[in-house]
Symmetry: C2
Subunit: 132 residues, 2 copies
Amino acid sequence: MMITTKGRNALKVMLDLAQHDDGNPVPLADIAERVRESQKYLESTVSQLSQKGLITSTRGKSGGYRLSRPVSDYTVAEIITAAEGSLAPVSCVSGEVTCENACNCLSLPLWKELDEVIMNFLTSKTLADLLR
Amino acid sequence: MMITTKGRNALKVMLDLAQHDDGNPVPLADIAERVRESQKYLESTVSQLSQKGLITSTRGKSGGYRLSRPVSDYTVAEIITAAEGSLAPVSCVSGEVTCENACNCLSLPLWKELDEVIMNFLTSKTLADLLR
DNA sequence: ATTATTTCCTATCTTTATTATAGGAATTAT
DNA sequence: ATAATTCCTATAATAAAGATAGGAAATAAT
């Protein structure tokens, strides 16, 4: 599975934030209750979204999270990538791996194309699209 | 990762069989040596390809494996699916899982579309395409 | 018939990745 | 001061992937 619970949760949180944006920070406890996931588990995912600048956090009492940009500015690709680290369908194209046989591998061009197809699709979809 | 070593190996084996088809069955030991993978590990993958009818096995001395159809008749999608079981990018669309929230999930349509995009691409590529 | 070579089957082990929980430190509005 | 919140680190539990081992069954070649 290319997209795991972590990536799906990230998207759920972003959608929840979009739907409950009243100007005030939204506490994670509220989000967790609505999306029915353990707050503790969501913490790590949300923390990554925050570190990558996709959401803005406010600490302390009456703190929480807010989207940092308009919903139409977020692509699904960047949200999933922020949570999963990569959305490469095959390790060969994830950058981490170097295959000594790459230069004469008959499959590699296929994997690269596949990666592009997926990227193009997920980059074309914004958070706003999902809310419609 | 949606496509793992197993799926990549399946494709490697199919390509190797295509390139060494002289009418006689090709022993797995030969294939393993050429693609530089452990024969024992390849066995399970090759066995799946055989059971799904993608290749034909001949047992006993001077036995081995052969492609059962012309190379242009194999789509990459079916080869990977035979080896991996599924090539769904998200468990939500793999069939195995039933999510009680499916009916009002904002993300599900996206995952279904993504699955389609991937399927369309991998179904459009044949083994013959990779050999060119 | 015997033998060598091969696929086939089943079991198990190791390693890695994912999923999840726990405890508490730091921050800040009230 | 207090209560509510994010933030940080560690670790445990579960599942998936990757790999190995031993031997049974089949069959061509001798």
